[in-house]
Structure formats: structure tokens, C-alpha cells
């Protein structure tokens, strides 16, 4: 899975935001703000990654247990799938 490459992700005054450009901006004229976990996962998905790879990356980066990481990933996916952000 991979995030649509048209999105620009940036930190702006302490908030991580993702803004569409190009074709993605025709489908969605808003913006998305991400918390630190969301921003981490978003950046992971700049390249094609599986759910298992995301889980490993999260466990490596954060001091958390597998169940919490899985829940965070699941929540993240629900949001980005709903907003049609995956290629």
C-alpha cells in the first residue's frame, strides 16, 4: 500500500499536515492534519509497504506493545481509506 504521491506532507507551526496537489486536489480540496503516529505511518507509506512492514516499523520506532501498535495502525487505515488517500 502506498499513499497517493500527489500529497505534500509538512510540519507547519507544530502541526503535521498533508495537502493534495495535482489530480488529488481535484478529488479533495481540503487538508489532513496528522498526530505524530499518523505522520510516522504516512511517511512510511511514501513507499509501498504491507501492514506487517508497518507494524515492524512502528514497534522499532515506538516503545509500545504489538496490540497497541496494531490498534493505532488500524485506526490510521480507517481514516485514510475513508478519505481515499491510497493509490
Amino acid at each position: 500500500m502506498k499513499i497517493k504521491s500527489d500529497y505534500v506532507i509538512r510540519e507547519v507551526a507544530g502541526t503535521c499536515v498533508a495537502v493534495p496537489t495535482g489530480k488529488a486536489s481535484i478529488d479533495f480540496s481540503g487538508m489532513i492534519s496528522l498526530n505524530s503516529t499518523g505522520a510516522f505511518l504516512w511517511k512510511q507509506l511514501a513507499e509501498d509497504k504491507s501492514e506487517q512492514e508497518l507494524l515492524s516499523a512502528m514497534l522499532e520506532e515506538y516503545e509500545t506493545d504489538e496490540a497497541t501498535a496494531k490498534a493505532d495502525i488500524s485506526e490510521f487505515f480507517n481514516k485514510i481509506k475513508a478519505a481515499d488517500l491510497l493509490e
Binding site: 505534500v8 510540519e11 507547519v12 507551526a13 507544530g14 496537489t21 495535482g22 486536489s25 492534519s33
Partner: protein, 239 residues
């Protein structure tokens, strides 16, 4: 042969514009300059292409379409020079610019018009009623008039230091509060003229918004249409 080639100075940038229609030339006249040498921005209007793209919007006259398109093109190119346009009505008072922003119909122009009534039009000057240019020079954020100021075409060729940005919301009672960065970022992004097609310019816009938030206070104001609303903002910003 250069058709209708004129030079202008807008937001401290020299612009060479070629092929503008008579109405647009008239609206741009207050910004006209005599200049030799290379312009910062060059805009060349292809009349045929302009008319073709305008066909999609039959409710707009060709003059209106040209006005909107050139305004948008300027806002995009401005991003290459550390500036951007914010959808807002900008009023200058006592050496500072206050920008009233928000979606269409929120009452931005109504509010700045109240300022003119309350303080008098000599003291409260409309810099741009729809889309002022904001640009950093010598570490100060300036608000600039431009010829592109929406339906009212109210604008003044001035440069005034930016004092505050206020997002308006219609309400019964007047109440102003400072926005935290998270809320302010979203509102600024939504009301900025965004370069949808250009990734690097989008990055420039986000950098500018970041810079603005480090320097300029951003507020939300619940407001009604009254002089009390004017005083509420004045007391917060100027006292």
C-alpha cells in the same frame, strides 16, 4: 509585435503583462510603472486560449474570466517570491493591516466596510477587499494591495505591515479569541489561494504559513454586524 505590453509594480515585484483586455488594463492602471529591464514576473495572455477555457463558465463575461485567471496566475507566481494571497478583506488603520478572513458569505467585506464607517475612510483604508498579497520583506510581513480584489474591485496600491488575521463567524454576540496553531493552520490553508498543480509552490505556501504563524497573531471572532464588533477587534489588536 508586443500587444498591449505594460509594466506594473505589485507586491514590490515588477510585472510585465502582455495582451490584457481594456477592462483589465484599466483596473491595473494604479499599479502601472515605467520601467526598463527584465521584469520579475512575465504574464502573457493568449486571447484565444483564454476565451476557450472561459467557455466552461458561461455565466462569466470574458472580462470577468480574464480578471479571475490573471489574478490566480499572479497568486501562483507570487509563491516563487516568498508571497501568497489570502482570501480576506484587508483594512489598514494606524499603520497596521487587519485581515478578515473566512469562507464566502461570512461577512468579511461587511466588516471592513463598518470599519470605514466607524473610523472614516481616510483613517481606515481598504487595501484589498478579496485577496490581498502577503509577502515578507526585511523580516516583516507586509500586506499589499493588488488589482485583483473580487467583485467590488476595492483596492489601494499600498504596502502596510500585517498586524493580525481574524477568521470571522456569524454570531449573536461579539467575542474574539486567539486561535491555537493547530486551528489556525487549517483555516489559513483553506483560505489561501492554493497552487493546486505545483508541488514546489505548495511547499512554498506551507513555509509561508509557518512563518506567518510565528510572527502574526491569528484570531477567531464570533461577530454580529455592529460597531460593537469593530470596537471588540480594535480593543484586542490596538490597545
Amino acid at each position: 509585435m508586443k500587444i498591449n505590453l505594460n509594466h506594473y509594480k505589485i507586491a514590490d515585484l515588477t510585472i510585465a503583462m502582455e495582451g490584457a483586455g481594456e477592462t483589465l488594463q484599466r483596473l491595473m492602471k494604479p499599479y502601472g510603472v515605467d520601467t526598463k529591464g527584465k521584469a520579475d514576473i512575465t504574464m502573457s495572455i493568449d486571447r484565444e486560449k483564454m476565451n476557450k477555457t472561459g467557455e466552461e463558465y458561461p455565466h462569466l463575461s470574458s472580462d470577468e474570466w480574464e480578471y479571475i485567471q490573471t489574478g490566480y496566475a499572479f497568486a501562483c507566481k507570487l509563491l516563487d517570491f516568498g508571497g501568497f494571497c489570502l482570501h480576506s478583506s484587508a483594512v489598514a488603520l494606524d499603520g497596521r493591516a487587519v485581515l478578515f478572513s473566512g469562507p464566502c458569505g461570512t461577512g468579511k467585506s461587511t466588516h471592513t466596510n463598518l470599519w470605514q464607517q466607524y473610523f472614516g475612510p481616510d483613517r481606515a483604508v481598504i487595501i484589498n477587499d478579496d485577496r490581498p498579497a502577503l509577502r515578507m520583506a526585511k523580516n516583516i510581513f507586509y500586506t499589499y494591495g493588488t488589482p485583483w480584489s473580487g467583485k467590488s474591485t476595492l483596492n489601494t496600491n499600498v504596502r502596510v505591515p500585517l498586524g493580525a488575521v481574524i477568521f470571522l463567524k456569524q454570531a449573536k454576540e461579539n467575542h474574539i479569541r486567539r486561535l491555537d496553531n493547530k486551528e489556525a493552520v487549517q483555516m489559513l490553508i483553506y483560505q489561501s489561494q492554493r497552487p493546486s498543480s505545483y508541488r514546489n509552490r505548495m511547499n512554498s505556501l506551507l513555509t509561508l504559513i509557518d512563518g506567518l504563524l510565528h510572527k502574526i497573531p491569528v484570531y477567531q471572532m464570533d461577530c454580529n454586524i455592529s460597531f460593537d464588533a469593530v470596537k471588540t477587534v480594535y480593543n484586542e489588536i490596538y490597545q
